[in-house]
């Protein structure tokens, strides 16, 4: 492998308390090293900014729902083709790009690790195959467990086997962590019983409540010591007044590690019975709770004005969008495990609700005191494409630009946020490095990523230090993956396959004797054939240890 000396750049490595210091970064054999020999390639980074490769803690890039969205909206990609080259596969872009395009464009943006945040375990083979066709980035996926009927059975039976069952499922699928989406609510929707309103609504036929699901599975993940804590898409996404349920969820998990996905969609005030025009922000209260509870982190799920595709396991949310007049709508029920809803969408600056959502996201970024706790995401592609990250970074770093954008948004909505209260905070480069790589990597338990200390993965992004932060973060000067330069001056120069990241905590094999009859009752796939064993799908992978292993 190539040895590289990145020379003279301003290094922003907040995990190692390095804030803009001019220093060399040396890479060899795919790792950050203390020094390299005189024959090493030298990259002159004077006048440039050096950070670890970006880490996206929450995006939707692979699997049956993403692929259904591609099939649903050919018009999204028609105007955005990517030509094949000597080294690159062709593809299409748009809000939901093809797999190769997804990998290439994340890399061109300086990202080197991405988490697919919601995969049905039953579809693991599909998810793994798509990720194998998503080059340039290391990738992991979280398995959906919040509406799993077999786990409901185990919870009702006392929950003793939940920990082993969670570990078994991770082993069976190649997953990295556990995702709970609207726990209990999706099963109720599939039953035809609407949604849940509170954590104590019972799921008919199973005698479990969202609170019990959170406690049992969140507790199991905590006990297993998975590298990433339970990743929660709370109940009542998008519903006015849902901040109460979000806070209740946080309190229910008190003392346990937990990550809350796309918090922006979960911190709305106003009772559900009020007209949507009464929707207001409760972001400050949520942030206050976070500041008192360091065991909880979140990503924002910022909405960006423009096209998006809402895709979620939270199928009742999509049904609401359908009823609001969505042009296209997909619903897909996955037996035993989850649901799925897809609606192409557009966020408009003049729309009251959209502008409020935009403003609430910015409140979470700008009012939060601890960037290690509140990370950057657009819940790609739900709030907008990952390609909008540079613009979002500019909104955080450039107050004049932000004020201009605020002036274009629905005035009545913005007045219900803190954005007009003289909020002059501008993120520093180190804070950007925290919310885009250091904090996500740390929260994912990826000790080799998100920083540039000795022994870290040689995933590095080097930016021109431009006043226009959007331009700066949209076109890195160099991107280095596993110690090799893959991007130079906005062009892909080398293809890296990227690595699958998985977690395989041990489990008591006796749990299979418990699971097998439950599978027989509920699944249309046999228990014997459920686990993914094909090495072509599972390997190569880096297995990240669980603390409880």
């Amino acid at each position: 492998m190539t040895a590289i000396r990145i020379s003279g750049g301003a290094v922003h490595d907040p995990a190692n308390d390095v804030d803009g210091e001019i220093r060399d970064v040396c890479l060899e054999d795919g790792k950050v090293v203390a020094d390299v020999g005189p024959d090493a390639r030298r990259i002159d980074a004077r006048g440039m900014v050096v950070m670890a490769g970006g880490v996206d803690i929450h995006a939707h890039i692979a699997g049956p729902k993403v692929n259904a969205a591609r099939k649903l909206s050919p018009e999204d990609r028609r105007g955005d083709p990517l030509d094949r080259t000597e080294i690159l596969r062709s593809g299409t872009g748009g809000v939901v790009p093809s797999t190769f395009a997804t990998g290439y464009r994340y890399s061109l943006l300086g990202y080197t690790t991405v988490v697919e945040a919601a995969a049905p375990p039953l579809a693991a083979r599909h998810v793994l195959a798509e990720l194998r066709d998503t080059p340039m980035i290391d990738k992991a996926f979280l398995i959906l467990m919040g509406n799993n009927q077999v786990l409901f059975d185990l919870i009702r039976q006392g929950g003793e086997r939940i920990k082993d069952a969670v570990a078994w499922w991770l082993e069976a699928t190649g997953g990295y962590g556990v995702k709970l989406v609207n726990p209990g609510g999706v099963e109720r929707f599939k039953q035809g019983n609407g949604n849940v309103d509170s954590l104590d609504d019972e799921v008919a036929g199973f005698e479990v409540t969202p609170r019990q699901i959170l406690e049992a599975i969140g507790g199991a993940v905590d006990e297993l010591g998975l590298p990433h804590p339970v990743h929660i898409h709370a109940n009542n996404l998008g519903v006015p007044g849902n901040a109460e349920v979000t806070l209740d969820t946080m309190r229910t998990l008190a003392g346990r590690q937990a990550h809350f996905a796309h918090l922006q969609f979960h911190c709305y005030g106003a009772p559900p019975s009020q007209p949507v025009g009464q929707l207001r922000s409760r972001a400050p209260e949520l942030l206050e709770y976070l500041s008192d509870h360091p065991e909880i982190t979140a990503d924002v799920g910022q909405v960006m004005f423009g096209p998006a595709v809402t895709m979620t396991a939270d199928a009742p949310v999509s049904a609401v969008l359908r009823d609001l007049g969505a042009d296209k709508w997909i619903n897909h029920d996955t037996e035993v495990e989850t649901g799925c809803g897809i609606v192409p969408y557009r966020y408009r600056a003049g729309n009251y609700v959209h502008a409020l959502q935009w403003g609430i996201g910015l409140e979470l970024f700008l009012l939060g005191q601890n960037p290690w706790q509140v990370m950057l995401s657009t819940d790609h592609p739900n709030g907008g494409s990952f390609l909008s990250y540079p613009k979002l970074i500019r909104l955080l770093m450039d107050r004049a630009f932000r004020d201009d954008q605020i002036g274009r948004a629905n005035r009545r909505a913005i007045r219900r946020t803190a954005l007009l209260d003289g909020l002059d905070r501008e993120y520093t480069l180190n804070e950007i490095a925290i919310i885009t790589r250091a904090a996500p990597a740390r929260r994912l338990g990826l000790s080799d990523k998100g920083h540039l200390g000795i022994g870290a993965d040689a995933d590095v992004t080097i930016y021109h230090d431009r006043a226009d932060r959007e331009e700066m973060f949209a076109t890195p000067r160099y991107v280095i993956k596993d110690g090799e330069v893959v991007v130079e001056e906005g062009e892909l120069r080398r293809v890296d396959e990227g690595m699958l990241l998985s977690c395989r905590p041990g489990f008591d094999p006796e749990v299979e004797r418990v699971l097998e009859p439950l599978f027989g009752e509920r699944y249309t796939m046999s228990f014997e054939h459920y686990p993914v064993r094909d090495p072509a799908l599972r390997e190569p992978a880096r297995v990240v240890e669980a603390r409880g292993s």
């Binding site: 993403v66 062709s90 195959a129 709508w329 037996e335 249309t524 054939h529 094909d534």
Partner: protein
Amino acid sequence: MAELGPVTCAGCGLLCDDVTVESSSEGVRLSPECAVGARWFSERMRRDDRAPAATVDGEVTDVESALRRAAELLRGARRPLVHGFEGATVEDARAAVALADRIGALVSTGAGAGPWPGAPAVPLRGASTATLGEIRDRSQLVVIWREDPESTHPRLLERLGLGAGSLSGAALAVIDDRDTATAGRADVRLSFPRERDLEALTSLHVLQRGLAVPSDDLNGLIERVRSVPHTAFVYGPGLTDGAGGQRRALALHELVRALCHERHVVTLELLFTPGTRGADDVLAWQTGYGGAVDFAGGHPEFVTATGPLEDVDVTLLVEPGPARVAEIALRSLPAGPGVEVWIRTAAAGVSAAGTAHRLDGVPLTLQAPEPDDAPTAAALLARLLDEVQR
């Protein structure tokens, strides 16, 4: 007598993975019984081992020579078409689309309406769908629209909880004017000609809105739907094939969408071959488009018309051919001497393992209960790509 299993049967799009295969001098028997599956295994387990590994213009040759000739054909092609996929694995499809991308070919997976999948309805408005288990466990009414799964997918009704002796209590409604085996099992039977499908679907939509339509049959069906919280509509080429297929499919999805305001209604599309769904999924994730894609411009373009087919001069067929033998085959057009290059491949699900996507999208592993030395289509296509680039 050899007993193999349980294995996944790729005899149709259902991909039942609980199948035990008994092979003896008297033939192949499956447990649970399935005539379609037994025939599928029989054709592949009793292949003529004297069949050559490859031929060029009908002459027996070795695989390397055949691949070189195939590469020459593709390099010289002005308008190559990659198609077939009926028995292809996901791995085969990934390799085939990679090759098509490199040589600028047309690709058709066979998914979608009509003989040329130019006009699927789902991209117009979407769909409500479900896996088999969801329908089995929730639907109290299953409506099968002009299909005869008892003949084509013999275990479908059993797997939807409508088998003989089932305790689910679900009712079966069949819309068909043919006296099929499935129609013979129906609790509710509507018999009108195919030409009235669009009118019937539109009328059901009108009835769903509470307006009057003078049809006892359709009134009865919509009352049935209204009387239960969960219904599933099963459809396939009987509805979507031929002129107007897209409009009929769209009318079904619009009806289901309207019904979903008050209850939970889903659809299940019957696919007849085990490779079609997986190949279409691969095409969609690698290009952004399902159905048919043209790489001629250096990037994927969504094909919605039959025009691009007209200039095709070389076709690459990815299993199976007319003899239902696992193969890849290249044919130069027009007509000419027939298949110019033919290479035998291992039969996925019998002699080679792989992944396939069930008709409801669930991915399953195909096992190799009788492995042999023949290469997989995926391996051959990867070698062909190397040869083309040489």
